[in-house]
Amino acid sequence: MIPVQDLFASAPLLIIGGSILIALILEMVFDSQSSIVAWFSGSALLFTAYWSLYHLYDRGFAFNNMISISGRTQLLFFIVNFAAAVVVMFSMDYIKKIQTNYGEFYILLLSAVLGMMLIAAARDMVIVFIGLEQMSICFYVLAGFRRKNIKSNESAIKYFLLGSFATGFIVYGMALLYGASQTFSIPEYLAHVETLKSNPIFLLGSLLFVIGFTFKIAAVPFHMWVPDVYQGAPTNVTAFMSTAGKVSGFAALITFLSPFIDYSARTTGSAKFFMPFLATLSVLSMLYGAIVALSQSDVKRMLAYSSIAHAGYMLIGLSALSYEGVDGVLFYLVAYTLMNLGAFGIISILETQDEKMLKIEDFAGLSSRSPLLAAFLAVFLFALAGLPPFAGFFGKYFVFVSAVENGMTWLAIVGVISSVISVYFYLRIIVLMYFSKGENTEVVSVPKSALLGVFVVFIMFVIMSAFPQKFEGIIHTIGLLTY
């Protein structure tokens, strides 16, 4: 018999799970042009986002400690559900525009969200793995959702091949972890960290597991799929993958690394390996992402490289293996999700049916074609570049501080240098939008639902930028609830 409180605790998972089933039925019953599935999924996601926000300070475990609803879990639930709800708003007109108006889009989206929520809640490696596969398989399909478009197909196949490859390492790593510890439970790892941390098999397993997820967050050198997939996938899917997908990857990393954070990492010899290892990945990602983005001519590809660089900044916070660092990463994740969603949302509005308006020079003179979208995009790009007073700046600030406080000042310096390099390619678009005249002078037609999505993201983002210390405080408080 499953205890009632376990069911209540896992309510967000059950709501989304149930919504998938209902959406399947709705999709069958109603005519394929009807947008009922979209409305239904959007409301389910928003409701769940609200639910998790309402239960932000709840504590507890469910199902024999396999999932946790404490602290960060609810925050991560909120981020992925909110992001997915906004993506639904973007998609309602977008998938009609690219002539793939099939109801299963929303069902796949919901399933991916369920996978992400499982990853976020998991305190057991098996659950992490189930969630990961649930999310990844949906992503493979979504990336190829433009089924008659060769690029979309290419991106799906590449993503699938390399993704499976990475999954292989994760499974192998898990096998080693089990071999070394006879358990999949992360609280158990925490309890026995003193013995496990000097177990070479356990460390090897950990490394493989971590590498598998650095693939998901797109850290160099496991990033190769990112530019091709982000560019080929439909823009709304890219918006989702690059935000909620990355959030889930970091969620798994934070959960798994939590036994090593702070007290143990200071004292141990071998587990300390993760600090320089993650720092190396961070440096590679920041510099590679920022430098290669300079020479891109496609906006989606440029943002793909920018997302690699951002993974690098967030890895700074993680590599400190400290609580402040993790708080900084979470703050950064929320800010990054908002600004990237906003930027991709606007691109999906501007994109034409035949995939025009995706070159960087197409943005010339946008401020006169659509002043509102140009202004929003400018704010998001400024924020991505990390200019104050936007939340993007504070995200960087918090992770840099954690690096400095943990004796890795050099890492913060590399971060600043890479930020400076990256300012160029963000500002280039702003300069084009405002200071040059484009050949195209036709006024952009903006679908209402997508504009609402951008607007909601913008408002959230402005609030976050105005009260950074408050957000940081909340994240810190719920971080303490996690253990």
Partner: protein, 648 residues
């Protein structure tokens, strides 16, 4: 309401957002105007209710800090967003929102039909938002945010008609001048803030002032440096020597802007700031003397320039500079209450003068030269009467508002500064009465000097005249809040009683007490009324009865006259001494050599290094999935190798 004082800041912000985002679409002037003015009206109500709540409390409970949230923590420095409701900030907030509201209403009529109507109200609301932040801030950082914010709005509004000509150049140039000159002041203010943080380890008013209040080994020289740096900021914002040159040019903006920003509120920000930091200035005797001397000099020189100007708004602009000088004179004498008193009364009558001038300009089809006016009395009766009231108030005839505040300042100048300060102040008062009545008579009295065949002056609509009447009433009765002791008794000065707790510590340090003055003060009072009356009489005689005298005087003293007409050639001197050398060095040394050769060279080579690197590194992205997998394997192999080498 005291605890919800942030509403008074939020409402203008909401008005700004509404008009800024939707104003262009709405196009309906009624809605835009109603939202813009309504936001300020409600803010005024919030402040008013807070004021009455505060009055009801016993004096020691009146000061209140409303903390909102912590914005940023960096080591020891914590920057909070919080607002301070105390006697001083409430007085200022009432003036800003009250007069702001009246001027908003007036603007609905004045800006009617302008294509930038919504833009105007957007900027105006943003200004009030910034100004309220400046006044209510409970720390230097937030004050500075408001300080910069009002500067920005001032820039935007001076250049509001960016496509119009202004004197020899454009309104944009006037806006830029205001901005650049203010930046110089702001720089001083910033340095002052850094020094404060260095010495007090905080930027919170409560902490800084309480630490400054107890003499804790901080030397007087430190206080002098801090106070002088802050005062440099004040000279920029409040148009004092040497940074006053932007204010006359600021008249390029629409007239309601001149009334609100460049007469009643923003330019008094410097006075407010000095009064707020009274304890810092009271501990810095040298700085206090500098404040007094600069104030006196500004008052005098600006008044002399005002004597001969012919543009109606220019006269008022120099008059504003001169009156601001009075306020700083008061502050420099350590008479902080008198300074704030003059801020309040000046806000009433100067706003009225500007709005009246706006009404005249409106009725005369944008003509601003007073030599082309005359006899407007019969065309614009309301404007004429209210303008006359304001002119009497500023000239210092009792019982109008200006008399009491100016007289208090002159008395303090005499009792704390000595005869010289009083004398120059009194001469300035004489000039003030003269140029003001010159302005009044040339505009409203006498025979029309315009081409009545083509120009048909008319009275302005009710939306514009009602604000004039409201301000006229305030200009008449506004002075009663600060009656001198000789007339009202020992505790009869309401404003002094009200502000006493704010300046208590500073007064104690300066060894000032609310001394009774006796018959000498009455004598000086009578004297200054006589000066004003004689001055008015002369103005009337010269400009109404014998206009030839003025021309003759200008001919006889042609050198002096031209110097005054050209404003002592200060603009030209600054051009020759500062602007031109800077431009020249910038062009030759900084631009053509340093920037183009060194900086651009460095930047471009760095940039091409990275783009070149990017071009090469992107070739790694072959598009072949097998290659990607190989690279992953290589990465994993390296990582494993690294881990194993550590384990062993």
């Amino acid at each position: 309401m005291r605890h919800q004082i942030y509403l008074a800041i939020l409402l203008p912000l909401l008005g700004f957002l509404f008009n800024g985002l939707l104003g262009r679409k709405i196009k309906n002037e009624k809605i835009v105007g109603a939202i813009g003015s309504g936001a300020i009206g409600l803010a005024f109500l919030v402040v008013l209710v807070s004021f009455f709540e505060t009055v009801a409390l016993p004096a020691e409970q009146r000061a209140l800090i409303v903390p909102l949230f912590s914005w940023l923590k960096v080591g020891l420095l914590e920057i909070n967003i919080g607002y301070q409701v105390d006697q001083l900030s409430l007085v200022m907030a009432m003036v800003v929102t009250g007069i702001g509201f009246v001027i908003h209403i007036y603007s609905i009529g004045y800006m009617h039909g302008d294509k930038g109507f919504w833009r105007f109200f957007t900027y105006l609301n943003l200004f009030i938002f910034a100004m309220m932040n400046l006044i209510l801030a409970d720390n230097f950082v937030l004050l500075f945010l408001g300080w910069e914010g009002v500067g920005l709005c001032s820039y935007l509004l001076i250049g509001f008609w960016y496509d119009r000509k202004f004197e020899k150049s454009t309104t944009s140039d006037a806006a830029k001048k205001a901005f650049v000159v203010n930046r110089i002041g702001d720089f001083g203010f910033l340095i002052g803030m850094f020094f404060i943080y260095l010495n007090f380890n905080s930027l919170n008013f409560t902490e800084v002032f309480s630490r400054a209040g107890v003499l804790s080994g901080i030397p007087e020289s430190t206080f002098n440096i801090i106070a002088l740096c802050l005062f440099i900021g004040a000279t920029g914002k409040s148009a004092q020597i040497p940074l006053f040159v932007w204010l006359p040019d600021a008249m390029a903006g629409p007239t309601p802007v001149s009334a609100l920003i460049h007469a009643a509120t923003m330019v008094t920000a410097g006075v407010y700031m000095v009064a707020r930091c009274s304890i810092l200035f009271a501990s810095a005797p040298l700085a206090l003397t500098v404040v007094a001397v600069i104030g006196l000099a500004t008052a005098f020189f600006a008044a002399t320039i005002g004597l001969v100007q012919n543009d109606i708004k220019k006269v008022l602009a120099y008059s504003t500079v001169s009156q601001l000088g009075y306020m700083f004179l008061a502050l420099g004498m350590g008479a902080f209450t008198a300074g704030i008193f003059h801020v309040v009364t000046h806000a009433f009558f100067k706003a009225l003068l500007f709005l009246g001038a706006g009404s005249v300009i409106h009725g005369m089809h944008e003509e601003q030269n007073i030599q082309h006016y005359g006899g407007l009395k019969k065309y614009m009766p309301v404007t004429q009467r209210t303008f006359l009231i304001a002119a009497i108030a500023i000239a210092g005839i009792p019982p109008f508002a200006g008399f009491f505040s100016k007289d208090e300042i002159l008395w303090k100048a005499f009792s704390h500064g000595g005869f010289f300060f009083w004398f120059i102040g009194a001469v300035t008062a004489m000039f003030t009465a003269f140029y003001m009545f010159r302005l009044y008579i040339l505009t409203f009295e006498g025979k029309p000097r315009f081409d009545s065949a083509h120009v048909h002056p008319h009275e302005s609509p009710k939306l514009m005249t009602i604000p004039l009447m409201i301000l006229a009433v305030l200009s008449i009765v506004g002075g009663f809040i600060g009656l001198p002791h000789v007339l009202a008794g020992e505790h009869g000065n309401l404003l002094e009683n009200w502000l006493e707790p704010v300046f208590k510590v500073a007064d104690a340090r300066l060894l000032r007490s609310a001394e009774s003055s006796g018959s000498l003060e009455v004598l000086f009072m009578v004297l200054s009324v006589c000066i004003a009356a004689v001055s008015i009489y002369f103005a009337r005689r010269v400009y109404l009865n014998k206009p030839a005298i003025a021309d003759k005087a200008a001919g006889t003293f042609s050198g002096l006259y031209r110097t005054l007409l050209n404003k002592y050639y200060v603009d030209e001197a600054y051009d020759a001494a500062v602007v031109t050398p800077i431009l020249k060095t910038s062009r030759t040394v900084l631009w053509k050599f340093t920037d183009v050769k060194i900086i651009d060279g460095l930047v471009n080579s760095t940039a091409s290094l990275f783009t070149g690197l990017g071009e090469r590194m992107r070739k790694l992205q072959t598009g072949v999935a097998q290659f990607y997998a190989v690279l992953m394997i290589a990465g994993i192999a390296l990582a494993l190798f690294w881990l194993i080498s550590i384990i062993n």
